[in-house]
């Protein structure tokens, strides 16, 4: 028979683990209410509680911190990159999965090799190119960076497409449907969960990215920055004692929508991440 202490022990272990995992997040949340602007190194909980940091975050942009502008920039970049890269990924995955054309294997191998090159390095060259085009420090330049090469990320979705029975495809062809019709009328509706997963990923990728922005944006004007760059800058030595609570507020504000999205998407995520792997 099951021993009750074993079951209790199991839950105690889980609770301890969850506690460890949630400490930093809990600290983030309580610090947003701290009246002390810098880092409180002596106490976990703030000594005086206030909502002033949130007011500052939303309504008092200054020369170092401009959360509304950062949020707007990140949102625009996220939405447009998401639209473009979702399309690219879906199109590439479909072509590689369903259409037998000359040079298909070659292209796929080539794309794998390309993917192994460190992205940071090619982005350095991209910086020069964008500079020539006058697109550095601009939202457009970042959208190009995030979405341009997104076609390379087709593997997971292709893995899913590969599980759609090929007979379905052939039957539709016999009925006289063109490839374009099959794409819109059969494959896209069948793959809704995976497409939702792709879309969300394409949005989160620019939303959570730090390194590209750091390379591409050299502007000293905070209203040109995105959230990643702005929040990073607040923790520099000269600013951290004035803006740590502000940083925590900002961090929490961008985390809330994503966390909710993640919790809802858990199921899709599990399917999406494993779908490609399981199906080889």
């Amino acid at each position: 028979m099951k021993k009750p202490w074993k079951i209790v022990g199991r839950h105690v272990v889980l609770a301890i683990l969850a506690f460890i995992w949630l400490i930093p997040i809990f600290w983030l949340i309580v610090t947003t209410f701290s009246a002390q602007k810098g880092i409180n190194t002596n106490h976990f909980f703030p000594e005086h509680w206030t909502l002033a940091n949130y007011h500052q975050l939303f309504f008092e942009p200054d020369s170092a911190a401009n959360f509304p502008a950062w949020f707007k920039n990140s949102m625009i970049i996220g939405i447009f990159s998401c639209l473009i890269s979702s399309c690219f990924v879906i199109m590439t995955a479909y072509a590689f999965s369903f259409i037998e054309f000359k040079g298909r294997k070659g292209l796929m191998s080539f794309s794998l090799i390309l993917g192994m090159f460190p992205g940071v390095l090619s982005m350095i060259a991209m910086y020069f190119i964008l500079k020539m085009l006058g697109l550095t420090d601009s939202v457009v330049g970042l959208i190009i960076i995030y979405s341009g090469a997104s076609g390379l990320g087709y593997l997971i979705l292709k893995g899913f497409f590969d599980t759609i029975p090929v007979s379905l495809h052939e039957a539709a062809k016999l009925e006289g449907a063109s490839e374009a019709t099959i794409f819109y009328k059969i494959v896209v509706p069948l793959s809704k969960p995976m497409i939702v997963y792709t879309v969300i990923n394409s949005f989160l990728n620019p939303w959570m990215d730090f390194v590209m922005v750091r390379l591409m944006i050299k502007s000293k004007n905070p209203s040109d920055w995105t959230m990643a760059l702005g929040l990073f800058n607040l923790l520099q030595r000269a600013l951290v004692n004035q803006y740590f609570a502000y940083f925590c507020c900002g961090g929490l504000m961008i985390a809330v929508p994503i966390s909710i999205l993640f919790i809802i998407m858990q199921k899709f995520y599990v399917e999406g991440v494993t779908g490609g792997a399981v199906k080889g």
Binding site: W21, L22, I39, Y94, L121, S150, E179, C248, Q266
Partner: protein
């Protein structure tokens, strides 16, 4: 090789056996289509030819002619006393020469391929006409892009994006590795030029003035240790946690999972920066450790000397390496837990049942059935995640952005102890404008990743398993 031979043989045949229209299309690319009354296609092809040739001679040729030297005329400003204005001479910009040179070469290669393909296509149409087959009208051609040539419709834009954002920059940076482009040779003020494999030699050199060899070995070893440890710890941890949560005795499975998933929802640049402040020299964790006596305990067992006022979690070699691995476990396990949950749900339960009947205990089941199954499925993706960790920029850079090294030989080559190849490369460019060495390091990283990928390559493409599950 045979394929390449055939490619040119077909081209020769087309010229030899083609009629006047095919031969004309050697000069005017649209001519062959005019001959078969495909006027629209002919006009478009001719326009394309004119446009490409104009751009090659008008835009790219002046740059390409200077590719061998990357420019010879340095920028000079002359102050004119009469007009009181500065005038600038007609100087060369090495950066533009290299960039336009590369793009020009790509355009020419693409144009030659198009040219040969065009002649062959025209010849094919000639044959079809001779045999009285239907020749596509322009409307048919357009329609074919929704059908036979749908892959072209689908892949054109993504491919263009990849060429612009990936291929050209990669070629460009590979070239930079063979030049002397660094802080002392920055266009437009200064020129840079080809130096052969000198930079590669420097990377493996350790001498009085050059310490790249010293730093490189250390950074490389740490990169490899990090990649393996980071992958293995999070992978095993993720499976164990998923097993633990999925166990039949666990109540409220969804809630536990959600608690861990919340940590993925916060962007890494927020959590990592936050953690770097928590574990800072004067951070809250150090305050806590001093208060409960952990600091004294470490001093007692000799991990810290008596004079240390804090635990250098993120500021001393050794400490920082351990901290990074631990923080990465914190970051990585929830994600791996999600992946593992998906895989564990699909484990064939009959195997586990029969093992149970045969009297296997839990550990035997885990190591003999669960793990082999999980490894079988995730094997290729494991190597992929080792590669991902070699290029894992965020964890290292955000945790150690304020790290200062005490090792002069490292500092001399602008590396710090916790650097991976990728963060070293980043520091070299972003803070020191040393593009030549950054490119060399990038190429070395690529070679390492490519070698690792060869292990999975055959499984992903060569041993085509696409059809098996259909």
């Amino acid at each position: 090789m045979k394929k390449i031979g055939n490619y040119f043989k077909d081209f020769g045949l087309a010229i030899a056996h083609g009629d006047i229209w095919v031969k004309l299309s050697l000069i005017i690319m649209g001519a062959g289509y005019f001959g078969r009354k495909q006027f629209m296609r002919g006009i478009l092809m001719t326009l394309l030819q004119v446009g490409v040739l104009a751009s090659i001679f008008g835009v790219f040729a002046p740059y390409m002619s200077k590719l061998n030297t990357l420019g010879t005329v340095q920028r000079e400003e002359i102050f004119d006393i009469v007009t009181m204005k500065k005038t600038v001479n007609n100087y060369d910009n090495s950066l533009l020469i290299l960039l336009y040179g590369i793009i020009g070469i790509l355009v020419i290669v693409a144009f030659i391929a198009l040219y040969i393909g065009n002649v062959k296509a025209v010849y094919r149409i000639q044959k079809m006409a001779e045999e009285g087959e239907h020749i596509n009208s322009f409307v048919d051609d357009v329609a074919s892009f929704k059908n036979d040539r749908f892959h072209i419709t689908l892949l054109t834009l993504p491919s263009l994006g990849v060429i612009l954002i990936n291929v050209i920059p990669i070629l460009f940076m590979v070239c930079i590795a063979f030049t002397n482009y660094d802080e002392n040779h920055q266009p437009p003020t200064y020129l840079f030029t080809w130096v052969g494999i000198k930079n590669f030699v420097n990377l493996f050199t350790t001498s009085q003035t050059i310490t790249f060899g010293y730093a490189f070995v250390r950074v490389l070893i740490w990169t490899l240790i990090w990649a393996v440890l980071a992958t293995v710890t999070t992978f095993l941890g993720g499976i164990l946690l998923a097993q633990f949560i999925n166990h039949e005795d666990t109540k409220l499975k969804g809630m536990w999972r959600t608690l861990f998933v919340i940590t993925i929802g916060i962007p890494q640049f927020v959590t990592l920066l936050l953690i770097s402040k928590m574990f800072g020299d004067n951070g809250i964790v150090n305050t806590f450790c001093a208060n409960v006596g952990i600091l004294d305990f470490f001093k007692h067992i000799g991990l810290l000397s008596a004079g240390d006022a804090f635990i250098p979690f993120l500021s001393k070699p050794g400490w920082v390496h351990v901290s990074i691995i631990l923080v990465n476990i914190w970051i990585g396990i929830p994600y791996q837990m999600l992946v593992a949950t998906g895989i564990l749900m699909n484990i064939p339960s009959d195997q586990i049942e029969s093992a149970k009947i045969d009297g296997a205990n839990k550990f035997q089941i885990f190591w003999k059935i669960t793990m082999p199954y999980v490894l079988f499925i995730t094997g290729p993706s494991l190597i992929q995640s080792v590669i991902g960790n070699i290029n894992n920029f965020n964890v290292i850079y955000l945790l150690t952005s304020n790290y200062k090294t005490a090792n002069m030989a490292m500092a001399n080559s602008h590396a710090v102890e916790p650097d991976l190849l990728i963060t070293w490369l980043f520091r070299l460019t972003n803070e020191y404008s040393n593009f030549k060495m950054a490119s060399v390091i990038g190429i070395v990283t690529f070679v390492i990743c490519a070698a690792l990928s060869l292990l999975t390559f055959s499984r992903m493409i060569g041993g085509d398993k696409e059809g098996v599950y259909r």
